[in-house]
């Protein structure tokens, strides 16, 4: 470790503040050795794009959730002991309720700043889950999950799942009528699992519903277990981003082997730091202005009551929607009831969705046979099948979401709940494939447009009449930035169909799996619009140059006239046209 202090070495050059700062840095460095670490990492370069900040929204809103949550733990009592409410909210005065609900009312009405903090906690939690979702969209559609980032994708899926768990456990804590209704549904879902369901539900709730244990059990999960896991996974998630470096969008000078952007210090310190305060500010602003979860309107939970329009928070809405649109199917096997109406939408379907989500990077890598490292992002149009699959999944999710709010939608838009249900039962199978095909076609059309731009340049809108009467539109070469973006596309050829029996007559044992792989590879890449070759682009440049040559005499005429006016000795009146071009423009004005 260096013992000389750069600040102390030239005290005359440094201002008093710098000298003091240097002194502190040296003092700390001599004890924890921080200078070497900071020197190595503060200059780390990050690429710039707005969509790279979506994950930051998740991180910052999580910090808001943690801070506001700590405040709430000071006043919340996770107890199902029945008490008589005697706080300041008159319409519930004298009513018997659980201590959990009573203390949430106290937080809302009798703790200084309590309602603001409660609303901050809840809004920030909704923002947290939503930010994870949009961050995941960005990573998915740009192919940022490809090698070497597959593990980080899985960590992300784990974080998303934990975020749902954190949200739902928090939603269930206040023991108001809405949260209790949600818990009762959750219990029903556990019960629907064949054979172990009933016992599992008894184990979780410590007996019959609602029992007296569950709130305190959930409390431990909500404030310790889940946030602890989230913090741990977030740490690893960010460490991986740090060591693997951030991906970047294609552009001039950007390759798979570099990172073009700004250093952490000072640019990203300022940007990220500022963004943290903005996210915090937005959370506070909404919490101060907009009600969320007005538990005082819902009343205390009792198992015999339920309100019309009971919904979970947005991120559970799709599961609720799946339950709502599922037809009523049950079977009786060996004395057991199997409730397919709950098992399929609430256990099997989300199980498939989350498994597919987690395994997607590996599936795509296997199908494409792509083993290269990728640090340059895909433009969504250049991977039409992946983009199509993503839009298909979002459509599927969106339809289930509509199902979750079917009663509110029915009353708000004068529809019948039955027709919404039937609409969704049909479209849940019909619309996602349509969304896939449409998206894929749009992507392919955009690829054609890109190819066209490379081969013909862009249309300038200048129409030229040639001496022999022909009209042409002048094309010009696209600028170098667009050129770099478009030419970043890397075409992957679909895998060839495997041979069943090779030339020596030996049967291919892996024929079936290879055949499937080749078919999937074709599905992914067969429709791809190939990027023009360098020779083709050069030939196109000649064509564009030809246009320019045709237009050149016109420019020469304009320019020559200017020279004559300036140097030809003709007296130039003020307001007189300087060039032929100006003169022509002047003529069309009158």
């Amino acid at each position: 470790m260096s013992t000389t202090n750069p600040a102390a070495a030239s005290p005359a050059a440094a201002s008093p503040i710098e000298a003091a700062g240097g002194g502190v840095a040296t003092y700390v460095d001599q004890r924890v050795g921080s200078n070497k670490f900071l020197g190595r990492n503060l200059g780390k370069v990050f690429p710039d794009h707005w969509s790279f900040m979506l994950g930051e929204i998740a991180l910052y809103s999580f910090l808001v959730v943690l801070l506001s949550g700590v405040y709430l733990t000071l006043f919340f009592k996770p107890s199902m002991v029945e008490v008589i409410y005697n706080g300041s909210y008159v319409p519930l005065k004298g009513i018997e309720m659980s201590e959990a609900y009573a203390s949430t009312l106290d937080i809302s009405f009798d703790v200084r700043g309590g309602l603001l903090i409660r609303q901050m906690h809840h809004w920030a939690a909704l923002i947290f889950v939503a930010a994870i979702a949009v961050h995941m969209f960005r990573v998915f559609f740009t192919g940022a999950f490809r090698k070497p980032r597959e593990f980080n994708w899985i960590l992300g899926v784990g974080l998303a799942t934990l975020a749902l768990a954190a949200g739902f456990s928090g939603y269930s804590l206040p023991d108001d009528l809405l949260s209790g209704t949600g818990l009762q549904i959750a219990r029903g879902i556990v019960q629907s699992i064949p054979i172990v369901g009933t016992w599992g539900a008894f184990l979780l709730f410590g007996g019959e519903f609602p029992g007296t244990d569950f709130i305190s059990r959930l409390y431990g999960i909500h404030i310790l277990l889940v946030p602890g896991l989230i913090l741990a996974l977030v740490t690893v998630h960010l460490m991986l981003v740090w060591t693997q470096k951030h991906t970047q969008f294609p552009g001039p000078g950007r390759t798979n082997n570099n990172v073009v952007g700004y250093p952490l210090m000072p640019v990203y310190m300022a940007k990220a730091g500022g963004f943290f305060f903005i996210v915090f500010g937005i959370c506070t602003l909404i919490a101060g202005l907009v009600t969320i979860n007005p538990i005082w309107l819902f009343g205390p939970y009792t198992p015999d009551q339920v309100s019309a329009g009971s919904q979970p928070d947005w991120y559970i809405g799709w599961l609720d929607g799946a339950l709502r649109i599922m037809p009523n199917l049950e079977s009786y096997l060996f004395g057991y009831t199997i409730s397919w109406n709950i098992l399929i939408p609430a256990v099997i379907m989300p199980g498939i969705v989350f498994t597919a989500l987690a395994l997607y990077p590996f599936l795509e890598a296997w199908v494409t046979g792509d083993k290269r490292e990728h640090h340059l992002l895909d433009r969504p149009r250049n991977t039409p099948t992946r983009t199509g699959i993503g839009v298909m999944a979002i459509t599927f999710y969106g339809l289930l979401w509509i199902g979750g709010g079917n009663d509110i939608i029915a009353t708000s838009f004068n529809l019948t709940i039955n027709s919404i249900t039937w609409f969704l039962r049909i479209t849940i199978f019909v619309l996602p494939p349509i969304a896939f095909v449409v998206t894929k076609r749009i992507c392919l059309a955009l690829q054609r447009r890109d190819r066209d731009k490379l081969l013909h340049g862009y249309e300038t809108g200048r129409v030229l009449r040639l001496p022999h009467g022909e009209f042409i539109e002048v094309h010009e070469t696209i600028n170098y930035k667009e050129m770099a973006v478009i030419t970043s596309k890397s075409d992957i050829a679909p895998l060839p169909a495997p041979v069943k029996v090779d030339a020596d007559g030996v049967a291919n044992r892996k024929y079936r799996i290879q055949s499937l792989r080749a078919k999937l590879s074709n599905f992914f890449y067969a429709d791809n619009i190939t990027k023009p070759t360098t020779a083709e682009i050069e030939a196109a440049q000649h064509h564009i140059d030809h246009d320019a040559a045709l237009e050149a005499p016109l420019h020469a005429y304009e320019d020559a006239d200017e020279i004559r006016n300036a140097h030809g000795g003709v007296l130039h009146h003020p307001g007189m046209a300087n060039t032929n071009a100006e003169q022509l423009a002047g003529r069309t004005d009158h």
Binding site: E56, K93, L126, F275, N293, A308, G404
Partner: protein
């Protein structure tokens, strides 16, 4: 005009013209739609209330409920429904029916108070039935709001929603929002059970309990929202909508702003 003429091809002009046309057409339609058919207002004061009611009944109701109020394929009999049912249906604008549908829709009342009272008196004269509640019966001033809340949650919210915002029933039927209901209308609805609503007789819900419920609904109607903007008190659906539109719109706008390269 030269100023306007020079700008007539700007893209915003098309939008402005479209808005102007929409506002004009919409405004004219609204003006035309509010002009209702002339109300039968000139009932002679010498006639008795029942006779006036009968006249109004024959003009406005008999096409569905038949000339003797015995009912037809298009409308139920009104014999024995009582004055309370008539007052509820007519004063909330549900009757006369604006259009056939799964259930009658509340709207601006088509008869004034005097006419409504006359209609109620006529129907009540056909056979005994629940009467319009007296001022004393709907005076909930001394009722317990908290008790009303409990009763509301036990009896009303499964259809009318916890905050009285209304909710969906099957096949397009719905429980309406209670935000515009007067105490008299609430009382009448409870004792007559309009549409899908069950009847809450004094045996199931004593008068004291009815008053408590009215007090709680009155509280819901007038309560401010301590948490700020209420989002319609509709719960997580509108909260989620607000999150994904306003909040995420703002957050992404900020991200785009920060992400723009400094020039």
């Amino acid at each position: 005009m030269k100023f306007l003429a020079a700008r007539r091809r700007q893209p915003v002009v098309a939008l402005a013209m479209l808005l102007f046309a929409l506002v004009t057409v919409g405004g004219l339609y609204a003006a035309a739609a509010t002009v209702r058919p002339a109300e039968a207002a000139g009932a002679a004061s010498s006639e008795t209330q029942v006779e006036m009611g009968k006249q109004l009944y024959l003009e406005g109701c008999s096409s569905c409920h038949s000339l003797q109020a015995q009912g037809s394929a298009n409308g139920p009999t009104l014999i024995g429904v009582g004055a309370a049912a008539v007052d509820f249906q007519v004063s909330t604008g549900r009757m006369p029916l604006a259009a056939p549908g799964v259930q009658s829709v509340a709207g601006p009342p088509q008869f004034n108070e005097e006419q409504t009272a006359a209609l109620a008196a006529y129907v009540a004269s056909l056979a005994p039935g629940p009467a319009i509640p007296s001022a004393e019966q709907v005076d909930f001033a001394s009722a317990d709001v908290a008790e009303g809340g409990v009763l509301f949650r036990v009896n009303c919210q499964q259809c009318h929603q916890a905050a009285g915002q209304g909710g969906a029933l099957t096949q397009g039927k719905y429980a309406p929002s209670l935000m515009g209901a007067t105490p008299t209308q609430m009382y009448e609805a409870m004792i007559t059970g309009p549409e899908s609503m069950p009847v809450f007789s004094d045996a199931t819900l004593p008068e004291e309990d009815k008053k408590a419920i009215m007090a709680y609904v009155d509280y819901l109607q007038n309560a401010s929202d301590p948490g700020g903007l209420s989002l319609g008190r509709l719960g997580p659906v509108t909260e989620g909508l607000f999150l994904w539109t306003a909040v995420f719109g703002a957050l992404i706008a900020v991200a785009v702003w920060i992400g723009i390269k400094a020039r």
